[in-house]
């Protein structure tokens, strides 16, 4: 077992720069609170961990399955409000609210996809955009229950210290990203969902013609997307100890899209890179002179990325440092002259 891991590390990880960078990055994340003792950066990265779950779940639903959802904050907000209401009215603690909130968000995912199954392309985007906006008005209409625009506060902490919260969120993020990575892996021999999601995005009719029940898999994609976005919302509420209509706002939905598009759509690592680059960057901007214009900076970044790097930053960098062997399809570092396995010339 150990020998096999070592072999994987030696031959599967070290020669591929992308995987090496990912490993170093994850190790850095795990030791980060041990090095940096101040609360603020740890807190920023805690929230970044949560948003990674949110962004990757959007990528799974919209990038991989092609159901472009412009109201992903719906699941996030439903998770957040479920936790807040359960805690306020029933006094439930995190160990109970986290699973309930997550499951409720997944159920909402299933319910929203019932009308969404009939639509495609821009119509689907418009429909999904409408749901969180409506829910915001419902929240506003029942002010005495939901607290209106002030939201609900006084929710218990996830753990007693920020460092513990950081590790809980990091663990949740690692597990969620790993699960979603496996679910969307088209080459996987364990689960077929990755391949089927790709097929649905590329050509739904052809997928149906080959005998795939596309309806069932679309519902599954919505449920998984809702589940993980809900988990993100639940954790976010417990970390901030409050929730409000901003968790349902259009900006929340668009933030997820911006992160994923920045990093690279239809790639799990792209979403991860997008959040860990943009979120701390914007938090830094908040403290500088141009903090007032951080939305403008974000918007300009999006425009530039869409124009000049439509595949995303992470994918762009990966293409620069890695090259696929033309003969055996093995990934090599871009600076090698010949493939590391079959020694076919790379250029």
């Amino acid at each position: 077992m150990l020998r096999r891991l070592l072999k994987d590390f030696r031959w599967g990880l070290l020669p591929v720069p992308g995987r090496l960078i990912a490993l170093i990055f994850f190790v850095a994340l795990f030791i980060f609170p041990l090095i940096v003792q101040t609360t603020y950066p740890v807190r920023v990265l805690t929230i970044a961990n949560i948003f990674v779950i949110f962004a990757v779940s959007w990528d799974l639903l919209s990038g991989y399955t092609g159901q472009v959802n412009f109201g992903h904050a719906l699941f996030f907000g439903v998770g957040a409000y479920t936790v807040a209401l359960l805690n306020k009215y029933f006094g439930l603690q995190p160990w109970a609210t986290i699973p309930i909130g997550t499951v409720v968000a997944a159920l909402v995912g299933v319910v929203t996809c019932i009308p969404a199954l009939r639509l495609r392309g821009p119509y689907l985007s418009l429909l999904t955009m409408a749901f969180p906006i409506m829910l915001v008005y419902i929240v506003m209409a029942f002010k005495d229950v939901t607290g209106g625009e002030y939201g609900i506060g006084g929710i218990p902490r996830l753990a007693s210290t920020p460092t513990q919260e950081y590790y809980i969120c990091l663990a949740a993020m690692t597990a969620s990203v790993f699960i979603m990575y496996k679910l969307t892996d088209a080459r996987s021999s364990l689960v077929r969902t990755g391949l089927i999601f790709h097929a649905i995005r590329e050509d739904e009719i052809a997928a149906r013609a080959t005998g795939i029940n596309t309806i069932r898999y679309k519902i599954l994609a919505f449920a998984i997307g809702g589940l993980f976005a809900g988990l993100a919302g639940v954790l976010y509420t417990h970390v901030l100890r409050a929730t409000g209509p901003s968790s349902l706002a259009l900006t929340m939905s668009f933030q997820a899209i911006i992160w994923v598009v920045f990093g690279g759509i239809v790639s799990i690592y792209g979403a991860v890179v997008g959040v860990y680059t943009l979120y701390p960057f914007v938090e830094l901007l908040r403290r500088t002179l141009i903090g007032r214009y951080r939305l403008l900076v974000m918007a300009v970044i999006v425009i530039l990325i869409l124009l000049f790097m439509p595949e995303g930053v992470a994918v762009w960098i990966r293409d620069k440092i890695e090259r696929e062997c033309p003969r055996c399809k093995l990934t090599n570092a871009a600076w090698r002259r010949e493939c590391r396995a079959c020694s076919a010339p790379l250029r």
Binding site: S62, V68, F70, P115, R118, L119, G121, P122, Y123, S125, L126, L127, A130, F131, I133, M134, Y137, I138, M140, A141, F254, I257, I258, V261, R292, Y293, L295, L296, M298, A299, V300, V302, I303, L306, L307, P310
Partner: protein, 290 residues
């Protein structure tokens, strides 16, 4: 009360109609859902305010400069930002939202978030059938009616209009018939933005001008074009007046529930999308050829 409802419905509906026609023209032709459409509307409203109140220009000059400037802005935005990524609808949606946010933040930065007002273009009121109507309302109605007729004539009678409708039907065949599709799309974008600018000119003295004013009309326009059928000009006009009537009724009969109008509007949109995705006068787009 009743006359107020009628007048307000006509004015609001007219403005929505101008916006929705532009929105559905550019959707029908370029398959671009331009979420920045009302941002151009806002830019024109700010232009009117700036030229009239800050620079003290006359009404006519302000209108001409504003409409021209905003149209050019729209053309530039289309050519440099939207046209390159036109094929990917998610990218276009994101791009136009980012563009709208850029507008919002720029106006917020330059003019601050204060509410600005513009004086009536013609002051006073006149009496029609014993009802007092503000001259500004009459002027707005007149401009809206003239512009809608002009657009209709352009679309049906001129070569450009025929090219636009042909491109909307089938861009590939239109190209084979010798119509320059990119140029037609650019012209369509020009007309659409000009309509948004005219709508702003008409309504700026009646509404307040502030950096978030693009949000509410955008929601209403999405509802209108879905209700009337995305890409249908006739549907946009009729949908605009229906939605305006609902909005004015909600606004006058239950002033406390003003924000509920968006919820009703959204509900209408969801129901229409699910029951009849083509809308009332829907054009069902065939699957695009690959």
């Amino acid at each position: 009360m009743l006359e107020l409802i009628i007048v307000l419905t006509l004015v609001t509906g007219g403005v929505y109609a101008l916006l929705a026609i532009g929105f559905s023209l550019i959707f029908g032709n370029a398959r671009v859902i331009n979420l920045a459409h009302t941002a151009f509307f806002m830019a024109a409203a700010y232009g009117m305010w700036y030229f009239m109140r800050q620079l003290g220009l006359g009404v006519i000059e302000s209108i001409v400069i504003t409409v021209l400037a905003v149209t050019i802005l729209g053309l530039l935005a289309y050519w440099f930002l939207i046209n390159r990524i036109r094929e990917h609808h998610a990218a276009v949606l994101l791009m136009t939202v980012a563009l709208a946010l850029v507008f919002q933040e720029i106006f917020l930065g330059i003019f601050s978030s204060r509410y600005r007002t513009i004086p009536s273009l013609i002051p006073g009121y006149s009496e029609i059938f014993g009802i007092r109507v503000l001259n500004q309302h009459l002027l707005s109605l007149g401009i809206v009616a003239v512009v809608i007729v002009v657009v209709w004539l352009i679309l049906t009678k001129t070569k450009l209009g025929i090219a636009i409708r042909a491109t909307a039907q089938d861009a590939e065949v239109a190209n084979l018939m010798g119509i320059s599709v990119p140029r037609t799309l650019l012209m369509t974008m020009g007309i659409a933005t000009a309509l948004a600018a005219i709508a702003a000119v008409v309504v700026a003295p009646l509404w307040v001008v502030y950096p978030y004013m693009w949000n509410a009309p955008l929601v209403m326009i999405l509802v209108i074009v879905v209700l009337g059928g995305l890409g249908s000009t006739k549907g946009s006009i009729i949908g605009a007046f229906i939605v305006a009537l609902v909005e004015v009724l909600v606004g006058t009969l239950m002033p406390s529930g003003a924000y509920l109008k968006f919820m009703f509007a959204m509900l209408v949109m969801i129901i229409v999308l699910v029951v009849r995705p083509g809308g009332l006068f829907g054009i069902v787009f065939e699957e695009e050829r690959l």
